[in-house]
C-alpha cells in the first residue's frame, strides 16, 4: 500500500532521515519505534507532506506522493494525527471534527462518520460543544484521532498517541487503535512506548539517528535482545 524507498530528508542543515526505506501493507498495523530525536516524527511529516524528501520516492497506492502538498496527500487517503495532538483549541469539539472532513463534500457520509466517531469516543459526544482547549490530554488525543478519521483515510499515521497520558488512558487509546484497524484502516504507529506498540503491531521498524536499524514482525522484535535492551527496558 505504502512504499518508502531510500528517502533523505533535511531539517535545514540537519540530515534528519538517511536513506530510509519501509513498507506498509493494506490492513496492517506497522509500528516505528525509536528514541527521542531518532527521526520518527520527521518521517511521518514527510509522509503527510509537511516536509519534502530531498531524495527517494514515496509511493502510495501506485502513485508518487513524495513532495506533494499536504492537501493532495489527505485527499489521496492518508491522515496524520500529529505529535502533541494539535487540536484547534479555539474551536469546539464538533468544529474540530468538521475540519477533519474539510475536503469531503458528501454531507450524508460526513454525518455518518461523525456518529461513528462519537461511537468510538463517547466522551467526545458528551463534550461536543465544549472548546477543545479545555479537554484533558486523553480527550484531546481522542479528538485528534477522531478528527483524522473524519477524513475517512485508508492509512492513518499516528504520532506518539501515548505521550503524556496515564497508563489507563493509553490502554484505552490502544484498544481504539485496534478497533479502527479492524474496521479496515491501515495504521502506521510511531511510538516511544515500544512495549505497547509492539503488543498491537503486526510488523515493526526500529529507527536510530535517522536510519532504520532493525525490522521484522512485532513478535521477532519483541524477542530480539537488542530491542529488549534498548527499548523494552528488559534484561
Amino acid at each position: 500500500m505504502l512504499q518508502v524507498n531510500n528517502i533523505d530528508v533535511f531539517y535545514g542543515n540537519i540530515h534528519a532521515l538517511k536513506n530510509i526505506s519501509l513498507e506498509v501493507n493494506e490492513g496492517e498495523i506497522v509500528t516505528l519505534i525509536g528514541a527521542n530525536g531518532a527521526g520518527k516524527t520527521t518521517l511521518l511529516k514527510t509522509l503527510s507532506g509537511l516536509l519534502k524528501p530531498k531524495q527517494g520516492t514515496i509511493t502510495y497506492k501506485m502513485q508518487q506522493i513524495g513532495g506533494k502538498p499536504a492537501q493532495a496527500i489527505v485527499k489521496s487517503g492518508i491522515s496524520h494525527v500529529p505529535e502533541g495532538r494539535r487540536v484547534f483549541a479555539n474551536m469546539s469539539v464538533e468544529e474540530n471534527l468538521e475540519l477533519g472532513a474539510f475536503l469531503r463534500k458528501d454531507r450524508d457520509g460526513i454525518k455518518k462518520d461523525l456518529d461513528h466517531v462519537f461511537e468510538l469516543f463517547p466522551r467526545l459526544k458528551e463534550r461536543r460543544k465544549q472548546l477543545s482547549g479545555t479537554l484533558s490530554g486523553g480527550e484531546q488525543q481522542m479528538l485528534a484521532m477522531g478528527r483524522a478519521i473524519m477524513a475517512r483515510p485508508n492509512l492513518l499515521l499516528l504520532d506518539e498517541p501515548s505521550m503524556g497520558l496515564a497508563p489507563l488512558i493509553v490502554q484505552q487509546i490502544f484498544e481504539i487503535i485496534q478497533t479502527i484497524n479492524k474496521e479496515g484502516t491501515t495504521i502506521l504507529l510511531v511510538e516511544q512506548n515500544a512495549h505497547m506498540a509492539l503488543s498491537i503491531a503486526d510488523r515493526a521498524y526500529v529507527i536510530e539517528t535517522g536510519k532504520i536499524v532493525l525490522s521484522g514482525t512485532a513478535k521477532e522484535l519483541q524477542e530480539s535482545e537488542e530491542v529488549k535492551a534498548a527499548y523494552l527496558g528488559g534484561v
Binding site: 507532506g49 489527505v74 494539535r86 484547534f88 477533519g100 474539510f102 503524556g164
Partner: protein
C-alpha cells in the same frame, strides 16, 4: 441631550475604526504580520468609491460594493507579491516590507493624480432626526447600519462558512490545518481579501461622512485602527470591533469637552497605556492552552 448626540457621533467614528481594525487583526491572527499598508487600502477604497460615484454616477451602495471588490483584489495582490515570499522570514523583515508597501501605494497615488484633496459628493440623504431630544444626522445612522451589517456578515463568514473555519484553523495552527487538507496559501489570500474589502468599505464610508479625501488620508485612521486592534487584543475579531468603538467614543468625548486638539494624542496615550497595563488587550488571550 447633547451627550447622546456625541455618543452617536463617537460610535459612527468608531465603526469606521472598527472596520479597518478588523483587517489588521485578521491578518495579524493568520500570519502574525502588522500590515501597515492596510490604511492605504482604506485610502484606495475611498478613491475607488469616489470614482464610482462621480464618473460612473453610481449610488452609495453600488459604489461601496465596487470599492470592496476592487480592494479585496488589491489586498490579495499585495499579499502574493510582497508578503508571501516572506512567510519564513523574520518578523521585522515582513514589517519593514509592509511599511515599504504603504509608502509605495501612497506615492504611486500622488505620482498619478497629485496630492490635492478631492471633495466627496453628497450621496447620502441629509436630514436631521430627533431622537430623545438629540439631533441626529440620518447619514450617521445610515453609516452605523451599514457597518453593523458588514460586521454581522463577517461574523457569519468566520463562524459558519468553510473558508471562515479554515481561517480560524490556520490562525491557530497552520501545520495542523494543512493536515486537514486546508490550503494554507489560499486561506491567507482569502483573509487578505476579506480584510481589504472591509477597509475599502470603510474608505467609502469615511469619504461620504467627512467629505474630504486625499492620498495620505489612510495614515492616521490606519494608525488609529491599529490602536483599536491592539486595544481590543490583536488577533481577536470581537476585540477589533469593541476597540474601534471605544476609541471612536473616547476621541469624540475628548473633542466634545473642548480638547479637540488633543484628539489624536488621546488615541496614542491609550496605546501607551494599554501596552503598559494590559499588553494582550481587552480580549487578548493570555491563557496558556493545555497540551
Amino acid at each position: 441631550m447633547d451627550w447622546l448626540q456625541q455618543l452617536i457621533n463617537g460610535i459612527s467614528l468608531g465603526s469606521i475604526y472598527a472596520l479597518i481594525a478588523l483587517g489588521y487583526t485578521m491578518v495579524y491572527g493568520i500570519i502574525k504580520l502588522i500590515n501597515f499598508a492596510h490604511g492605504d487600502v482604506f485610502m484606495l477604497g475611498a478613491f475607488i468609491g469616489f470614482f464610482a460615484i462621480t464618473r460612473w454616477e453610481m449610488g452609495f451602495i453600488p459604489a461601496l460594493i465596487i470599492a470592496m471588490v476592487v480592494c479585496s483584489i488589491i489586498g490579495m495582490i499585495i499579499e502574493r507579491v510582497a508578503y508571501k515570499r516572506l512567510r519564513n522570514a523574520t518578523r521585522i523583515a515582513a514589517l519593514t516590507t509592509a511599511i515599504g508597501v504603504s509608502f509605495l501605494i501612497e506615492y504611486t497615488m500622488i505620482f498619478f493624480r497629485g496630492a490635492t484633496p478631492e471633495a466627496y459628493p453628497q450621496v447620502l440623504p441629509q436630514t436631521n432626526i430627533n431622537i430623545l431630544g438629540a439631533n441626529i444626522n440620518s447619514q450617521t445612522i445610515f453609516i452605523l447600519v451599514v457597518t453593523i451589517i458588514l460586521m454581522i456578515l463577517l461574523q457569519f463568514i468566520v463562524h459558519k462558512t468553510k473558508i471562515g473555519k479554515a481561517m480560524r484553523a490556520v490562525s491557530h495552527d497552520a501545520d495542523a490545518a494543512r493536515l486537514m487538507g486546508i490550503n494554507v496559501d489560499n486561506t491567507i489570500s482569502a483573509t487578505f481579501a476579506i480584510g481589504s474589502a472591509l477597509a475599502g468599505a470603510a474608505g467609502v464610508i469615511f469619504g461620504s461622512y467627512y467629505t474630504r479625501i486625499d492620498p495620505l488620508m489612510g495614515v492616521l485612521p490606519g494608525l488609529k485602527a491599529f490602536i483599536a486592534a491592539v486595544l481590543g487584543g490583536i488577533g481577536s475579531i470581537p476585540g477589533a470591533m469593541v476597540g474601534g468603538f471605544i476609541l471612536g467614543i473616547i476621541e469624540t468625548v475628548v473633542s466634545a469637552v473642548g480638547y479637540s486638539l488633543w484628539r489624536d494624542a488621546a488615541a496614542f496615550i491609550i496605546l501607551i497605556l494599554i501596552l503598559i497595563l494590559r499588553p494582550a488587550g481587552i480580549f487578548g488571550k493570555n491563557i496558556r492552552e493545555k497540551v
